[in-house]
């Protein structure tokens, strides 16, 4: 049960990363590898502030702002200095590695003895269950696990709602249109460059915020924790697309969150069945590869079938 609850919780926390990747990858078709650096950046900033006694909420919001700054850099590298999308992301990601080490002061920063959002989650869980543990469908559940799940679900719900509202404002719609048809939105008076910068800001802000929550949930920040996270986000976004199938902002946001949770559950089950944790990134990469080429193969098969 703990495993299942933790899979749900991590899936929800990482769905914020997926929402960020949704903005860069689905809205702008921009494979923004900055995410690998900014998720760690968020974790590092939050962890470092927490160990200095800053309030968990303030620390998490600061992590969001830090991510925005990272996205701003990538956006400016790409739009103002005309550096290729992927390369802009790689440069910022690489730079962030050193910055993260500086922020944390060491490669791993434990959060065991400080007050974090998980502390609040535990209080919430105790309040909900009335005890330190409860039973759910006959399984024992700790207050910490239950509280973390409820709290992360609430946070994700609020952020997804804000994102949905944003994408239906004049500004947010102009952002969606910038990714959909650059020429058109330019002719309607929108600077596509500014939209990309703003989009990457928000995207990496969300990714860093996910990093801050993840660090608080697992009780440490690690300089290596971001490796391959962009691929994770892509997998979630792709599953989300397959689940909902439409392009409307609401459906895509919901799909992305569902995709993230579902993907985490699949991974948890696979690990339970004996998947070597070392193979996790390999399996994720293969999965995304499959999801990217499958539509193309399907089309080939279909046109073959139509021809014969």
């Amino acid at each position: 049960m703990t495993l299942l609850l933790s899979a749900w919780t991590i899936g929800l926390i990482l769905s914020l990363l997926s929402l960020g990747v949704y903005i860069s990858y689905r809205v702008f078709k921009f494979a923004d590898i900055t995410a690998d650096g900014s998720i760690t950046f968020g974790a590092a900033v939050a962890a470092s502030m927490l160990t200095h006694g800053v309030h968990p909420v303030t620390s998490s919001i600061a992590a969001f702002a830090a991510g925005c700054a990272a996205g701003l850099c990538t956006g400016i590298l790409h739009t103002r200095f005309r550096i290729n999308q992927l390369l802009s992301g790689i440069l910022v990601m690489t730079a962030l590695y050193s910055i993260n080490l500086h922020v944390m002061g060491q490669s791993n920063l434990p959060l065991l003895s400080v007050t974090t959002l998980t502390t609040y989650a535990q209080d919430l869980g105790r309040w909900l269950t009335g005890h330190d543990s409860a039973t759910l469908f006959g399984w024992p559940v700790s207050a910490r696990d239950a509280g973390s799940l409820v709290l992360s679900a609430a946070i994700v719900f609020i952020i997804a709602l804000i994102a949905w509202l944003f994408f239906n404002t004049n500004l947010g719609s102009a952002m969606r249109a910038s990714g959909d048809n650059e020429q058109m939105i330019r002719a309607l008076g929108v600077s596509v460059e500014n939209m990309i910068v703003l989009g990457l800001c928000i995207s990496n802000g969300l990714v860093a915020f996910a990093g801050a929550l993840l660090a608080q949930y697992q009780g440490f920040a690690d300089v290596q924790m971001g490796i391959g996270m962009i691929v994770w986000g892509l997998a979630s976004v792709i599953i989300g697309r397959a689940l909902t199938g439409t392009d409307s902002a609401g459906a895509a946001l919901t799909g992305t969150i569902m995709g993230s949770v579902l993907f985490r559950l699949i991974i948890a089950v696979a690990l339970r069945w004996g998947l070597n944790p070392n193979d996790l990134k390999l399996v994720t990469a293969i999965f995304v590869f499959g999801a990217l080429v499958l539509p193309m193969l399907m089309q080939k098969v279909r046109s073959h079938a139509a021809a014969s």
Partner: protein, 270 residues
């Protein structure tokens, strides 16, 4: 309304692919005038439109719209004054967004875009009413992604979007060339109707001599990056499609003559 002074633009300057697309184009277009631009392939007519729209900066010369010098303005800033319809019917609309969303985006052309709702409840009636004027039954498909509509329907909507807020200048770049004849006719009629209704200053590029002869009140003929002929007033009224075709044949013959004469000279003297 629109003043172009000695516009020059060379692409790929200094390479083997150098193209002198505009070689000193000057035009003065009055308020409310509907100008048709014709010319052979590569004559620079589309380049001229793109120069005005700001798709690139000109090397030399000045562009003045409604009394404002916009020569160094980026494209998105000029968009506050300019409505545009492209040759490709897919270029003017955002395919995955709905008809209503596309129109609402166009309704804020050149205005600040903040955190107000794109589609507040009160805007829906206005959107439907104006789409209904197209007589294409599109008012019943306001919530469909615009990518599910046909090229003709999308081009009609693009025309509506470009003129939703009255532009100082309307630029039409062969906007019927990629459509089937029936849709093309429909768009031509719609163009006439919208331009005359709002008395829009319009610059329209076309390949069709028929359109050139029947639409607009002035014809500018371009060749090799410069203005070759400018028919207006009485001259414009008497011109027929055949006259334009004959003129084009003359140009072609002259160019052929130039080329063969040069060949002959080269053979004899080099």
């Amino acid at each position: 309304m629109l003043q172009l002074r000695e516009l020059r633009k060379t692409f790929f300057a200094g390479t083997h692919n150098e193209v002198r697309a505009l070689r000193g184009v000057s035009l003065q277009i009055d308020d409310g005038s509907f100008v048709i631009v014709i010319g052979t392939n590569g004559s620079g007519k589309s380049t001229l439109l793109n120069a005005v729209a700001g798709s690139f900066y000109v090397d030399q010369g000045a562009i003045n719209i409604a009394g404002t010098d916009v020569t160094r303005w980026p494209e998105h800033r000029r968009a506050a004054m300019i409505g545009r319809v492209f040759q490709n019917p897919f270029s003017g609309t955002a395919p995955s967004m709905t008809v209503a969303e596309n129109l609402a985006l166009a309704a804020r052309r050149g205005l600040r875009r903040g955190l107000g709702r794109l589609l507040p409840a009160r805007i829906h009636t206005e959107l439907r009413d104006r789409v209904a004027t197209l007589n294409m039954q599109l008012e019943n498909r306001m919530n469909n992604p615009i990518g599910t509509l046909s090229g003709g329907q999308r081009q009609a909507l693009t025309l509506l979007m470009a003129t939703w807020r009255r532009p100082d200048l309307l630029l039409l770049d062969e906007h019927t060339a990629a459509l089937d004849p029936k849709s093309a006719d429909q768009i031509v009629r719609l163009t006439e109707q919208i331009v005359s209704q709002h008395r829009l200053t319009t610059l329209m590029v076309t390949h069709s001599m028929q359109q050139a002869a029947t639409l607009g009140d002035r014809i500018v003929m371009m060749n090799q990056g410069s203005v070759l002929a400018d028919y207006r007033a009485a001259e414009r009224r008497h011109i027929r499609a055949e006259d334009l075709v004959r003129r084009f044949d003359e140009i072609r013959r002259d160019e052929l003559l130039d080329a063969s004469a040069a060949e002959m000279l080269r053979a004899q003297y080099l």
